[in-house]
Amino acid sequence: MAEVQLKNVSKSFADTSAITDMTFGIDDGEFVVLLGPTGAGKTTTLRLIAGLENCDAGSIEIDGTVVNHYTPAQRNVAMVFQQYSLYPHLSVRDNLAFPLRSPILKTPEDEITRKVNEVAEILHIPNKLDNKATELSGGEMQRVSIGRALVRDPAIFLMDEPLSSLDAKLRADLRVELKRLQAEMKKTLLYVTHDQIEAMTMASQIGVLDEGRLVQFGTPRDIYQNPNSTYVAARLGQPRINLLPSGLFGENGPQGASQIGLRPENIEVGKGRDAHILRVEHLGDQTRLHLKFVEHDLVTLIDAHSDYQEGETIQISAVDPLFFDAAGSRIS
């Protein structure tokens, strides 16, 4: 395992810029998640580190060595693809053994057998080893594809939305399993996703991407509590943060503040200004109130057992709002 550094990396395809001036580091044993919507440059970042694309500017270092001109094989990285990419003509066993048989590793056969069995055990697929790769279910395929990375001891694991094509239950199970594996084996891992739950639950560090730029990098808690822009604030949290013009609650914002951000838990119900209840959603463990406040729509969370009705008027006030300027940057 090793550490990886990206320094001022840029990449464009034809006329469109995919990655702009990206700089961040992944420390040894860390689980870093890149979070962003489709087209933000998450996959391109992985492919640049893997060596499947060459960067136009900047440098990529693995363990202090600049690897810009290394082939993917020389970089010693392992990657899990979104679409599994298991070799369809091989059995599960041969798929798992494939990286070990490469000319770079040239592992002896008895050791291959040992490692493949070990990984199959970890991923709960020992009875599937002799199946053809195409005879597996989606969840099994993704396990094999993760296993193909785990049999090796690469500098870093790169995972490209590995859980996105699985159903919700399997996704939740594998999420926990993956985090446990990473923590137990102390592996360095870079994971990209557009799913904020995956990012929040697994990451030791999150990088938020917007149109090819890294807009914020920090621990999940830090990014949730101290977003540096309205964009980052809106990417984490469910229901989303409420953005309002500042001053509606009579709060005193810092110089230049033109918007405030209020997460649902930062709206206190019971005192303050009047708001109109548009809709009540009972989710079982929580209840969401959709409010009309002045002419703005707000969402807040209240106790699951409260019995507010649609059409009622309640009083709300803001607790510790986040202040943003007109361009959306945070002011504190």
């Binding site: 893997a50 060596g51 094989a73 990285v77 392992a78 990657m79 693809f81 990419s85 000319p103």
Partner: protein
């Protein structure tokens, strides 16, 4: 009353379809059966009218195909008893076998040239198709069109330039010359067909192999080739059928050394009258290699014919 279904065919539809297929197969197979049977007829039975369906089989045609014979005096025939069963057959016409015919040699030439050019077409075609499919090649579309344009006229249209060129290069009547010629004709088919197949193989497999520690060529060899097997097999059959059956260039460019079977078989008619059983025997043997090759690759061929129509 049973309900109507779009997916399940009724048993009546199945019966009609089955009958049609069988009738069609019988009609197509009739000439082949006729050729095969004629090879085992005597010359008289072969040309009798109406044609004989039941006849006493003989190996005369095959003996005549593989041997050269000469007529001998009664005295010679009595003093030299027949040495083997083949000799015995030709004795009934007062003939003796004096040596092998050229058929074996010509057949071997066909095998060398047919399979040689098929192998070369597939080898070059696969590499070119992979490059066109995966890499950014300047003017790729124009190059592909140029490759296809070699098939826009009948190959024989360029017979005279090729004849003169081959004479100057010393390629006339050589195995290499014929292999190169058939490869040149087949390569456009091979590149276009194989490019279609390779385009269908997702790039992620190679990318996974590159990351798993393999070079680009190893990834091609270990991951792309096995998945392109279907396409390669069906393309190979098409290439072999062309090279195997080609007649015009073979007549024009080969004679003593590299002559293939197609121009040789008609020459049998010239030796000792219209020996139809020998011609039929030659044609039957000539059919076998392509038939065996096709049967061997048949499970790939079915998908090859419908390629591009359905995605896996």
């Amino acid at each position: 009353m049973s309900s109507f279904s779009v997916t399940d065919t009724s048993s009546r539809t199945k019966r009609i379809a089955g009958t049609l297929v069988i009738v069609y197969a019988l009609i197509t197979m009739l000439p082949l059966v006729w050729i095969g049977a004629t090879g085992f007829k005597s010359p008289a039975d072969a040309i009798s009218y109406p044609p004989k369906v039941v006849f006493s089989p003989t190996l005369e045609g095959y003996v005549n195909l593989f041997t050269t014979r000469t007529r001998q005096t009664q005295e010679y025939l009595q003093n030299n008893p027949p040495t083997n069963w083949a000799d015995e057959i030709v004795r009934q016409y007062d003939m003796v076998i004096v040596g092998p015919s050229k058929f074996g040699e010509r057949f071997l030439n066909s095998v060398i040239i047919g399979f040689g050019s098929t192998f070369l077409s597939i080898f070059l075609g696969t590499l070119a198709a992979y490059a066109f499919s995966r890499f950014k090649i300047p003017l790729a579309d124009d190059l592909l069109f140029f490759i296809l344009s070699t098939r826009m006229m009948p190959p024989i249209a360029v017979a005279i330039p090729i004849f003169l060129m081959y004479r100057n290069l010393g390629l006339s009547d050589t195995h290499l010359g014929m292999i190169l010629l058939y490869t040149a004709v087949n390569i456009s088919l091979a590149v276009w067909l194989l490019k279609g197949f390779i385009d269908e193989i997702p790039r992620e497999y190679e990318e996974a192999a590159l990351i798993d520690g393999y070079t680009r060529f190893q990834a091609f060899y270990k991951v792309v080739l096995p998945q392109a097997a279907t396409g390669i097999a069906s393309t190979a059959i098409f290439c072999l059928i062309f090279a195997w059956n080609e007649y015009a260039f073979a007549v024009l460019l080969t004679s003593a050394t590299a002559q293939t079977a197609p121009p040789f078989i008609p020459t049998i008619i010239g030796i000792g009258g219209l020996d139809w059983p020998a011609v039929a025997a030659g044609a039957t043997l000539f059919l076998l290699p392509v038939m065996i090759f096709t049967i061997m690759l048949r499970k790939h061929l079915l998908r090859g014919i419908t390629f591009g129509a359905v995605r896996k």
